[in-house]
Amino acid sequence: MDLEHSLDQDALAGVVRAIVAGRFSMERIRRREGTPLVVDPDDWAALGEAGVFSLTVAEDEGGVGLGMADAAVVFEELGRGLVPGPLVASHLAAGLTDSPLFAGAADGTTVVGAVTRPRMSDTGARVPLIVEHLASLDAMIVVGHDGLLSVLSTDDLEAEPIAHPLDPLTPLSVLTSLPEGDPVGDRDTAIRFTQGTHILTGALCAGMAAATCSMAVDYAKERQQFGRPIGSFQAVKHLCADMLVRAEVARAAVDVAAVTADQPDTGDTVRAAAGAALLAAEAAIANAKTSIQVHGGMGFTWEVPVHLYLMRARVLASSLGPLGALARTVAARY
């Protein structure tokens, strides 16, 4: 029993951190703010080359043959660096080796997104079907009303771009229709897909929660008011301490969910994954908000990047569906 990173996992995190520092520096990714093509194909291929998408694909299928625990380590780093793009969907697509559409997902030459088919609202009005990074996508996974997956090429999709997306690094489009697509996998595949979405989205969020905590702490050490660094005031200290608690609790939840997915006889993966997604999404939102507060007026400027974490956290949280539903999943299995 060991819930700390192994040496291999530390090394893996280091590799990802180096790629993030090189290709996804804040300065570099911010240049693409507000553009429809935030995902750079070269950068995406570099992530593929590092194994970000093929990590959990079996070696005899051409993957790295590692587990969700390793993927969680990687995705926490990607979240910390605010790396944009359909990371979770592309990673999970690489495992759907039955579908010819996803041949290049593993090496990052095919970019894959995901969307949940919306229900009609009670009044019969159509809920807008919002897709992320559509202009960069080659293919898409559709989660149907029955929970089963289908896949489709994005070539012939009709969509209206949203001119002002909340997160300037997550371009959005509204699909005007959504074809049926080709079924892929069975019910177990669909369940694993949901679990994978919970765990990896949770990992991104946990990394983001840690990043906004660090940003607040760094600022609080440096910013002077009333002749002292603001981090010397208890009020600021306690905001930061609470951020650390949220980030650490979220990371523990994500990590244990990932290991449980790899070793399913050690626990209830559905409960662990749903709980991890819930706590991590909340931590990412709350820490970004608190970090803005610690940054004071500067936190409200476009220049300081902490708000980008807040907007991304909302994007990721919304991709999980209502957070209350995650809580009820945990409750039903407690």
């Binding site: 609202s121 009670d122 009044t123 009005a125 159509r126 809920v127 807008p128 919002i130 949203i162 001119a163 002002h164 997306p165 909340l166 997160d167 997550t170 959005l172 509204v174 002077q224 008011q225 009333f226 005031f233 009020a235 600021v236 908000k289 803005i292 507060q293 004071g296 007026g297 500067m298 936190g299 409200f300 400027t301 476009w302 220049e303 708000h307 807040l310 909302r314 994007v315 919304s318 991709s319 569906g321 209502p322 957070l323 209350g324």
Partner: protein
């Protein structure tokens, strides 16, 4: 305790309501957020209408050219304007609610004659130069300097968080006239003509994407000594005097707008089968309570001239409540909250008669400034603890 208004107050309300019903439909179309010239014309145009109808400076004393209304009438005034969805005070904000009252209280007769009437008429627009990048919560640490040179001060430095700078005629400016160590005892309050050479205006983009604010940079800007309000180095006290004009009505518009927003969120939630009724009801009870607290604060101001302890209590409670309303809105509309542009279809969309995702996103994002601007909630809690509860300074 009494919730009924006097006959005179009711008549004031009736007349104002009638005037608004008659006047608002005649207003031109609202300009775009980015159209500064249009916004100035729109806001000052409405101010001129108010002036002509005798409603300019409701809260100003008569000797300043205002209406000299009682706090309760001021409350009725802002309540009716909000309920009628009249234009906000907009670019007239600093002149009407801050610089003007300061000059009323502390200006010379010449300054009052020169600056006050154009504010009331909507001829002059003012902006504020108080905050600096390194002087936020700690305003007294400001460093923008004013050095005497004959009959002028020469001003160098910069300011941040200035609204409406692009269209302002004048700026109420806090400058350091004493050495830095003197902190709040070395500050003076100046009237700066925004046409003076050496002023650079840089729009400041916020997380809401908009450029409502600007940074100001001063390079040897000359301000006549005659434009100083109050004594040299006495600007801190002059600034504080303005606060004493507050009658507890500052947030009435936003509060009533929040109540209306919550009402429409409740309708959205009803359409979804009311899974959030507990949360909505709780927020509703809090808004009702803060509306009661507002009226208590105004009652206190009517008796004593100041709204008492309720002002700080209100600001602390409302700024955090506003964030929770923002979060509720975002939670209710799910993926719809990812777009600043209006989306169509479900119960929350404008096309279906709901509040619309754009307003909800805007409410949410802007709510984050509420616990920061005009004193962070942390500073507010210190103030409440020390000034109201009498706890010792740290």
């Amino acid at each position: 305790m009494d919730l009924r208004y006097t006959a005179a107050e009711e008549q004031f309300r009736t007349e104002l309501r009638a005037w608004l019903a008659e006047t608002l439909p005649t207003l031109p179309e609202k300009p775009d957020t980015g159209d500064w010239a249009g916004r100035r014309a729109y806001d000052t145009g409405f101010q001129r209408l108010l002036f002509d109808a005798g409603y300019a400076g409701v809260d100003w004393p008569k000797e300043g050219g205002g209406r000299g209304s009682s706090p309760v009438e001021q409350l009725v005034y802002v309540e009716e304007l909000e309920r009628a969805h009249a234009p906000y005070v907009g670019v007239n904000f600093v002149g009407l609610l801050h610089a003007g009252p300061t000059i009323v209280a502390e200006g010379t007769p010449e300054q009052r004659a020169r600056y006050l009437p154009p504010i009331l008429r909507g001829d002059d627009v003012w902006c504020q130069g108080f905050s600096e990048p390194d002087a936020g919560s700690d305003l007294a640490a400001l460093r923008t300097s004013a050095v005497r040179d004959g009959d002028d001060y020469i001003v160098n430095g910069s300011k941040i968080w200035t609204s409406h700078a692009e269209v302002a005629d004048f700026c109420e400016l806090l400058v350091r006239t004493g050495p830095a160590e003197t902190k709040h005892k070395g500050i003076s309050w100046l009237i700066m003509d925004m046409d003076a050479p050496g002023i650079e205006i840089r729009p400041l983009r916020t997380i809401a994407g908009a450029t409502e604010f600007a940074e100001l940079f001063f390079h040897d800007v000359r301000v006549p000594v005659a434009n100083r309000v109050g004594q040299e180095n006495d600007g801190w006290r002059v600034t504080m005097v303005t606060l004493s004009f507050e009658r507890g009505t500052a947030f009435v518009g936003e509060l009533l707008q929040s109540m209306e927003l919550l009402h429409s969120l409740r309708e959205v939630d009803d359409a979804d089968g009311s899974p959030n009724a507990d949360r909505i009801g709780h927020l509703g009870a809090e808004l009702d309570a803060l509306w009661a607290l507002t009226r208590r604060n105004v009652s206190e101001a009517a008796r004593t001239g100041v709204p008492g302890i309720g002002g700080s209590v209100f600001k602390l409670a409302f700024s955090e409540l506003r964030q929770r309303i923002g979060e509720l809105g975002m939670d209710l509309i799910g993926r719809g909250g990812l777009s600043w542009d209006e989306l169509d279809g479900p119960a929350w969309s404008r096309s279906a008669g709901g509040p619309g995702n754009a307003e909800l996103v805007d409410t949410w994002v802007n709510s984050f400034s509420r616990t920061i601007a005009a004193g962070t909630s942390q500073i507010q809690r210190n103030i409440v603890a020390e000034r109201i509860l009498g706890l010792p300074k740290g």
